[in-house]
């Protein structure tokens, strides 16, 4: 069977996500939206705008800045926040390092991906947030495929896969004990393609690194890594210029580029339909082991 492109966004997904966002605001005292600057969290911002219109979005965004972000992502974040008049809280992994709470990884695979969990948990505690809205999707990864829409985390941010609450119909139970908080995933049932079709339908702006551009890269383990001062390279890893784009927005130290000429949304979607590599296949952080994601979720990773 050949996959024809279906451009039509399934409207049921938007209705479901808006319902979830409204339940979150109604059931929790202090929700916050975890914002990464990637397409999934940009989609969440749009959904929040729609859910409470003509009122304002009744919660802040929270960005955990690893310090290793693509500069384009940060520029986009600031533009979006200004344009829509949103509240944003930014917390820096560098501060957690300076406080001695986490230690910078060393070696050529060093990244701050694992470190950001500590900064995130501190920010949740500091802000007394009882619900953190995230843009995770169940199609991304097989441990995520198991997660509920309201996912209860204990005081240490841990996810207990075997003790998940049953979620029946669309009835959401957001009652929690003191110290616990909930991760809310309104776009659980969306696929990567759904998100892209939504971006097209809603005419949303996204960071420029999603589109084809020329950039310095190195080749390592069969993947194209963006060259930057954050990346520890060996002598034989010589950067070269190439036309690439990124399928996900993570840190510059753990997000691989794909060779691409796609500079329009339509071309990006066509590329995804044909792509042989899954979205998180370009996430170096997932490749550490088969259970990489599950382990990070247990540790409080969002």
């Amino acid at each position: 069977m050949t996959n024809q492109i279906n451009w039509e966004f399934p409207q049921a997904l938007e209705d479901e996500a808006i319902y979830i966002l409204r339940e979150t605001v109604a059931q929790f005292e202090k929700p916050v939206l975890l914002f990464s600057g990637g397409k999934d969290s940009i989609t969440l911002v749009r959904l929040a705008q729609k859910a409470f219109y003509p009122g304002k979005i009744p919660f802040s965004l929270l960005h955990v800045d690893t310090g290793h972000n693509f500069p384009e992502t940060i520029a986009f974040r600031d533009w979006l926040v200004n344009t829509l008049g949103l509240d944003i809280i930014v917390r820096n992994v560098q501060d957690s390092i300076d406080q001695g709470k986490v230690q910078e990884e060393t070696g050529k695979y060093a990244s701050r991906n694992a470190l950001q969990t500590v900064t995130l948990l501190d920010a949740i505690e500091e802000g007394k947030f009882d619900a953190c809205i995230g843009g995770a999707r169940r199609d991304e990864e097989k441990a995520r495929a198991k997660e509920r829409i309201f996912s209860v985390r204990d005081e240490f941010g841990q996810w207990n896969a075997k003790m998940q609450r049953p979620e029946l119909f669309d009835i959401l139970n957001g009652k929690i004990n003191i110290g616990e908080n909930v991760r809310v995933f309104p776009i659980s049932n969306w696929t990567e393609l759904d998100v892209w079709n939504y971006i097209v339908r809603e005419k949303l702006e996204i960071p420029s690194i999603y589109f084809s551009h020329e950039r310095e890269i190195i080749e390592r383990d069969g993947l194209y890594w963006p060259y930057s001062s954050f990346l520890n390279t060996t002598a034989d890893e010589v950067p070269f210029r190439q036309k690439v784009r990124f399928r996900t927005v993570g840190d510059m130290t753990c997000t691989a580029a794909v060779l691409s000429e796609a500079d329009k949304l339509e071309d990006i979607i066509a590329e995804i339909m044909e792509a042989k590599i899954s979205e998180r296949g370009a996430r170096i952080d997932d490749k550490r082991s088969e259970a990489a994601m599950e382990k990070r979720k247990q540790a409080g990773y969002f």
């Binding site: 996959n3 209705d15 808006i18 169940r138 097989k142 896969a161 009835i171 139970n173």
Partner: protein, 415 residues
């Protein structure tokens, strides 16, 4: 594009995960890197074939034991439809997760091992699919390759299943039987010709043509209010809109509505979806409704048409499925959540527990344990406005929440 939600269920080793893997594989939904990871993982396990079930068993404990513990959601699309599969556990001790997965499904897919035929789990799964009134039931008789693709064997299983069907309380399900081999892909997404005596649809062909949403417009209009939107900005100074998702039926601008429990009446002034003004709000659409008059309504209240009002209940008789390790005992109080409305509730009496394998009802029970299904009477502290589940599922179900540890302990279906 339409979304079709399917729940799969089967007993241990029926090949459920393999079937889903097969559907994904045959619809080109598995990216190359995931496929390579599968090959490698299968090899590490010492298998000489690619184990497609490793695709969906996402937890370490599941891969270790080779079983499914929790619901996994899997997605694939054809040019016609987007499919969401809830792959649910077959083990008896994870039945609550099966109910979770099945609660949103339009199609229930039951797997039967052709060698074993109908087993206890089949009864349980069918009972739940029937209790939930899932409109379509597909019975896949799997592992046909291990019974020499025997037509007689298939017919025997169909016959046995018909006996079970005749005992069902809900007779409205459309039931389809398909002989398949998920290992070899026979009759899943394509026909390899091995089962020449079967001329019917493959599983995917059947799923592609299932029609749904046909009942939505026959159900009474129900709009549970999630929140009141009052921006109080200069531009929207007097705006007061009710945000919610239409649970069932539909509402038009100009409809006369009644707000429950206050009983106040008004007419729908506008139906809004962000910057768009709609003339009608249909089932499952998230909208904001404004009314002609200022009436007393807030979260947990419900707007309904004056022509079709739900029953006001303070005493609820319902079938419930118990989902918690801690047993239910007569007289205990819980929070009952019906849609977005929560009230205190006391379970007054356990009338009987149903043996799902033979439908026998055992009375004189004083407690209900994990995975038990039975009839209870509940008294609520304030009235709820509900329909019988059999008339309108979207307004006829509830959950019970433990007041002390806040977990969801049961799901109920109102008589």
């Amino acid at each position: 594009m339409e979304v079709l939600r399917i729940a799969t269920s089967g007993s241990v080793d029926d090949g459920k995960s393999t079937l889903i893997g097969r559907l994904l594989y045959d619809t080109n939904s598995i990216p190359q890197d995931k496929m390579e990871a599968l090959h490698a993982a299968s090899k590490r396990k010492g298998l000489d074939f690619t184990d497609l079930s490793l695709l969906t068993d996402g937890l370490v404990a599941e891969r270790e034991q080779g079983i499914t513990i929790d619901v996994a959601h899997i997605y694939f699309s054809t040019p016609t439809r987007k499919y969401i599969i809830a792959d649910t556990p077959g083990h008896i001790e994870y039945t609550r997760n099966m109910v979770t997965g099945a609660s949103n499904a339009q199609v229930s897919l039951i797997l039967i091992d052709a060698r074993k035929g109908i087993v206890e789990q089949t009864h349980r799964h069918f009972f739940i699919a029937n209790l939930l009134r899932i409109p379509y039931l597909v019975v896949c008789v799997n592992k046909m390759d291990l019974v020499d693709y025997s037509e007689a064997r298939f017919n025997q299983i169909v016959e046995d299943f018909q006996v079970m069907l005749s005992n069902a309380s809900f007779k409205g399900q459309e039931v389809k039987f398909i002989p398949i081999s998920s290992l070899y892909g026979e009759n899943v997404a394509s026909r390899t010709g091995t089962i020449s005596w079967y001329q019917g649809d493959t599983l995917l062909e059947y799923l592609e043509q299932v029609s749904f949403d046909h009942e939505d417009n026959q159900h009474p209009a129900r709009f549970p209010i999630q929140s009141v939107i009052r921006p109080r900005t200069t531009e929207y100074h007097d705006f007061r809109g009710f945000a919610g998702k239409v649970a069932s039926g539909h509402f038009n601008v100009g409809d006369e509505v009644i707000s429950l429990p206050s009983g106040q009446k008004s007419r729908i002034k506008t139906i809004e979806q962000f910057e768009k003004q709609l003339t009608v709000a249909r089932t499952r659409e998230s909208v904001v409704i404004t009314l002609e008059d200022e009436i007393d309504s807030s979260r947990g209240n419900m707007l309904v048409k004056t022509t079709d009002v739900p029953q006001q209940l303070k005493e609820v008789s319902a079938n419930i499925c118990w989902m918690d390790q801690q047993k239910l005992t007569n007289g205990k109080t819980y929070l009952l959540q019906h849609g977005v409305n929560r009230v205190k509730a006391k379970v007054q009496q356990i009338q009987y527990i149903t043996d799902v394998t033979n439908h026998l009802q055992k009375a004189d029970k004083t407690e209900m344990g994990l995975n038990d299904i039975g009839k209870v009477s509940i008294k609520t502290a304030a009235p709820i406005f509900a329909d019988a589940y059999q008339n309108n599922p979207a307004n006829g179900a509830f959950i019970l929440i433990d007041e002390f540890n806040n977990t969801t302990v049961a799901v109920g279906f109102i008589d």
